[in-house]
Symmetry: C2
Subunit: 258 residues, 2 copies
């Protein structure tokens, strides 16, 4: 059987999701919990990697098992061996055709930015910081340049061996409340560091360093060096993932309410 | 001149306020910043110690200096050399009669408790956790036992060499919103671990382990071992400190709004 778990985590203390030698990752602590339950190694798959310091409200993972537990028992059992900053919110058992990475049809990321002078000490791990000129209207005017299908070669970090860099952005909003700005961006998939580079490029427009029209040039160049800086991971959250599977989507919606 | 600074900090990454060998403390990072500004050591005084993992919305400190800066410049200058999880919110310059510890007339602490099954991963550092039976009415009924003047010998940790253990609690409220319970307690002063032991004792009543009347017995015994467990530091916040000094109180009120 294939078990799908929905995780939520504070990424502050982790070197990202994917297992790495000598560094603590989300994947490692989840696999450690599953090893205790199974008395053997269990490999998990994730809907997508998150980098060091990046958070997730919803991160679906899956693994194959011969253990038979009901959904609530999976949640309780895996949580029992997890550190408190990684939590399993829900579980569902499906057949082995479903894959949390290959079957995702839409992902949403949030980027939380603080534009005031001093970040609240309690928010340091949870927002990016931009204590410079930020023209909200100019930021909003960038959105149409990113919506729709584009080749995002200029908006991904170089250590990316994916050949096809065409992605479709289906939704993109920027909200501002006092000194907090929230970017919410949905699409069929995201390249490595893509959200953080898009936000960084918009900050170049919002601060007056470049004009919005230059975003077209950046796309045309298909070269990372033309886009803006990659903003800090602390403000980035994987917010949700959706699939061609009503049961999994329903589970994710329930978990978002927790 | 004596400079009073109002600090706010996330205590998660610190071994408390007071300097200790080989451990990073709030006092150390503030004194390091002041050393850079003065090119010599500067000793600070705090309104009261906070333990490892304990937070502060308002923690007044003071130090003596020959440097002449206006209040805003003190804020900017000290923040420039501080880590992001410790922030100076305000400053005022007074004469050397004022002392942040000896002149305080009232302090308020908050304890944030989560009583649901799994703590939200983003709250792990910021709440205590009590995933057991919690009868809110029973907790409320404890409050009158603590209000007023008492000998709090049973409600402080033993490594406390203060002789006079009589303190007056002037305000004590317990609010519950869904699965979050907030204890707010004000008094003329607090002994070592006093708030955490009071909350732990109230949890014994709320969970049905003891009856509220037993709190009287605990007071009478004047012995730490009769009171409840000390709850985790992660939920504890020094919320405010007040003085017989209108200027300082005004500054603190302004800082609370930031």
């Amino acid at each position: 059987m294939r078990v799908i778990l929905i995780c939520k985590y504070d990424g502050s203390n982790y070197h990202g999701f994917q297992i790495q030698p000598n560094k603590i990752t989300i994947q490692e602590v989840i696999e450690k919990s599953l090893r205790k339950l199974h008395n053997k190694s269990v490999r998990i798959h994730m809907s997508g990697r998150t980098d060091a310091g990046v958070h997730a409200y919803i991160q679906p993972i899956h693994f194959d098992t011969e253990l038979i537990l009901d959904n609530n028992s999976w949640v309780r059992a895996v949580n029992a061996y997890l550190p408190k900053d990684v939590v399993i919110l829900g579980a569902i058992t499906l057949n082995e055709n479903f894959h949390v990475r290959y079957d995702s049809i839409s992902k949403t990321y949030i980027y939380k930015l603080y534009i005031g002078k001093y970040v609240d000490p309690f928010n340091v791990r949870y927002v990016g910081h931009f204590p410079f000129k930020f023209d909200y209207e100019r930021a909003l005017e960038c959105v149409p340049y990113f919506l729709g299908e584009h080749d995002f070669s200029s908006f991904c970090s170089k250590n990316n061996n994916i050949e096809n860099k065409i992605r479709t952005i289906t939704n993109f909003t920027i909200n501002k409340e006092n000194e907090y700005v929230t970017f919410e961006i949905s699409g069929d998939g995201f390249l490595y560091n893509m959200v953080r580079i898009i936000v960084g490029t918009i900050l170049d427009v919002a601060s007056g360093k470049i004009n919005k029209e230059y975003i077209e040039t950046i796309f045309e160049k298909k070269d990372r060096k033309y886009a803006g800086k990659r903003v800090s991971p602390s403000g980035l959250y994987l917010k949700s993932v959706y699939y061609n599977n009503a049961e999994v989507n329903q589970l994710i919606n329930n978990c978002l309410k927790l």
